[in-house]
Symmetry: C2
């Protein structure tokens, strides 16, 4: 699995919002939440390319970046990894931990029920 740092992920996440995109578009998107210097973001883009998380095409002197994977694919792998490390690969203990500490809202419960429902339909 490609290992991304926190900051690298946030840059990639800004690209996932809408791609392909240029560095300046990504910088623009990040400017709302982050106070990162433009240079910092460029560095992170370079590292993402080096790690194989992004590819780019040249357009004049600009690069037009595209993620090499989908967000869902990446977050799924990260989730598996996380759950493996902290909960021996089982997902229920994670949810259970949230429940016990009153971190679950009725909306969360409804959404979870729907996920279960859909899963069961899928199994026919």
């Amino acid at each position: 699995m490609i290992e991304l740092s926190k900051a690298e992920f946030e840059v990639l996440d800004a690209l996932w919002l809408n791609y392909p995109a240029t560095a300046s578009q990504i910088i623009e998107r990040l400017s709302d939440d982050k106070q990162w210097h433009e240079k910092t973001i460029k560095t992170l883009l370079g590292r993402l390319v080096k790690k194989g998380a992004l590819s780019f095409e040249k357009d004049g002197r600009q690069y037009i970046y595209t993620p090499c994977m989908e967000r869902a694919e990446y977050t799924l792998k990260e989730s598996q990894n996380f759950i493996e490390r902290f909960f021996s690969g089982r997902i229920a203990p994670l949810v259970s931990g949230f429940a016990k500490s009153e971190q679950l809202s009725q909306q969360d419960i409804n959404e979870l029920k729907k996920v279960i429902d859909d899963w069961e339909k899928q199994q026919k």
Copy 2:
């Protein structure tokens, strides 16, 4: 939140198995899964103490270590953090991702149902 590295967490996790414990006991426990040098584990114990994740008492020339927090407490915080970063704080999308990629077993589903059930009872 105390930030622990992967390796640090694994050492702490070995301590959580049964504590208080000495360095050599922890090293013994880790020897099954890891091929870490004894010195490496000692280094990690030192870093854990420095970060405030462990405390110790002296017993002759040995230290007897105790975690400064419970495993459930730590994993809950890590989970919140994880879910915040990747799923904007909502838990269902994580579970949904697993479901869509067929990572959920009937057992997982049953466990999740039980968590939901317990939660609902709790709300009376």
